[in-house]
Amino acid sequence: MKYSAAQILWQGLTGNKGWKPAWRDPAPKPSYRVVIIGGGGHGLSTAYYLSNEFGITDVAVLEKGWLGSGNIGRNTTIIRSNYLLEGNQPFYELSMKLWEGLEQSFNYNAMVSQRGVLNLCHSDGQRDAYARRGNAMILSGADAELLDAAGVRALCPFLEFENARFPIKGGLLQRRGGTARHDAVAWGYARGADRRGVDIIQNCEVTGFDIENGTVKGVQTSRGAIKADIVVCCAAGSSSRVLSLAGLRLPIESHVLQAFVSEGLKPTIPGVITFGAGHFYISQSDKGGLVFGGDIDGYNSYAQRGNLPVVEDVCEGAMAVMPMIGRARVLRNWGGVMDMSMDGSPFIDRTPVDNLIFNGGWCYGGFKATPASGFCTAHLVATGNPHPTATAYRLDRFRRGAPIDEKGAGAQPNLH
């Protein structure tokens, strides 16, 4: 069923009896052309673009829990394309363009809101770095504006401009950045893929791979064996666990990242704001809650919950840059498990096992990448070649000495 204003009117006149579940709940078939492990944002968008752009509809998405139960439902919903390096920025700009047409493409309201992303700078050196970054963004076709302190003040008069240690000198603004309704992104992709015949199979955990002569032939699951010509692993957060079943060791550590939401407030914060002197970022949801976060906890974890030192650090960042929210109460906080890679950049690549494709290592930047990640993974599956914007996301790049290290922190995952 296509959603439209006419449909709402018609259903309203006929007692709303015609609405159907947005996707089916099929039992797994014995074999598929493509099996995707992981029914989160990236797995579902891969299935969506495979079926809608590349004409491959004999696809199953296997999800261990329920659809969208991982990081697609646990992030801070920010979309942006403000990277520096050549291996990253064109990819994230492709993602931004896909976000802009997403709702029309999959006929679902994902509440994409281009309310702007503002990165604050607090020193002359940081302003120079942002000027360089802005130029890199513009070269890739993205938009960027360098604001001086007066420009930031006009946009966000409530910030702490005269902080003795971290005065605000200006900011880098991407007006096309913003936020999206994260769950609706998963639901929209699931519905869009399901409408083309993709089977989305929930409560189906992959327990092993069937590998013959170095080629994957299918997967073992909690709901039986499933044969496949190509298997795609989109299980970021648990990539190491899943691919260890295929005998692979990855350049990844799993870390916990916490996020926070305050009680609902009247509209206060115009877009996404990031503090440049600590690690703190904040936006306001359409329900009014302030959604914010900071650093990862910094130690290996699969626990989906963090510890108090990071809570304190995030709140200190908030008070340093935006003291007006000091009286707001935190309503909830939670943690998600991230694939932290050795250079802070992701992987979309073949693996040493033939016909097994890996999508992961998204660190804490996976949400904004959801559309391009799915598109580029589907491109790799369908054509056998990487998409032109994703050629650097190779699994062997450390061995070749070609990391994509935005921060320049080296092979230390908890510093990215």
Binding site: S238, S240, R241, S244, R249, L250, P251, I252, E253, S254, G298, Y299, N300, S301, Y302, A303, N307, P309, M342, F398, R399, A411, Q412, P413, N414
Partner: protein
């Protein structure tokens, strides 16, 4: 998390910085590029018991090998990394 330091007793984890898997003690000798690549970049990243290196940066600056469960954050054993390395014959 509280790390029970072998010399100083229970200390808050925020006094420490985290390096990673304790196998980083076993640095291979130079020459074999593949072995060094694996040492530097590849990790087991287990869900469950994990032996890992913590540095008491805001304390006595000792390196510890902490055995911790990555699913529950429960710490079951804390050793001086010096002792672990000596037991492996890596130090005098």
């Amino acid at each position: 998390m509280i790390i029970n330091h072998p010399l100083l007793g229970p200390r808050d984890a925020s006094e420490f910085t985290y390096l990673g898997d304790a196998s980083l003690i076993d640095r291979p000798d130079g020459g074999d590029i593949d072995a060094f690549h694996a040492y530097l970049h590849l990790r087991d990243n287990p869900a469950g018991e994990h032996r890992e290196l913590w540095y008491h940066e805001y304390g006595d600056r000792s390196w510890l090998v902490v055995t911790r469960n990555t699913l529950t954050h429960e710490i079951t054993q804390v050793e001086l990394a010096r002792d672990v390395a000596r037991a492996k014959g890596r130090s005098r």
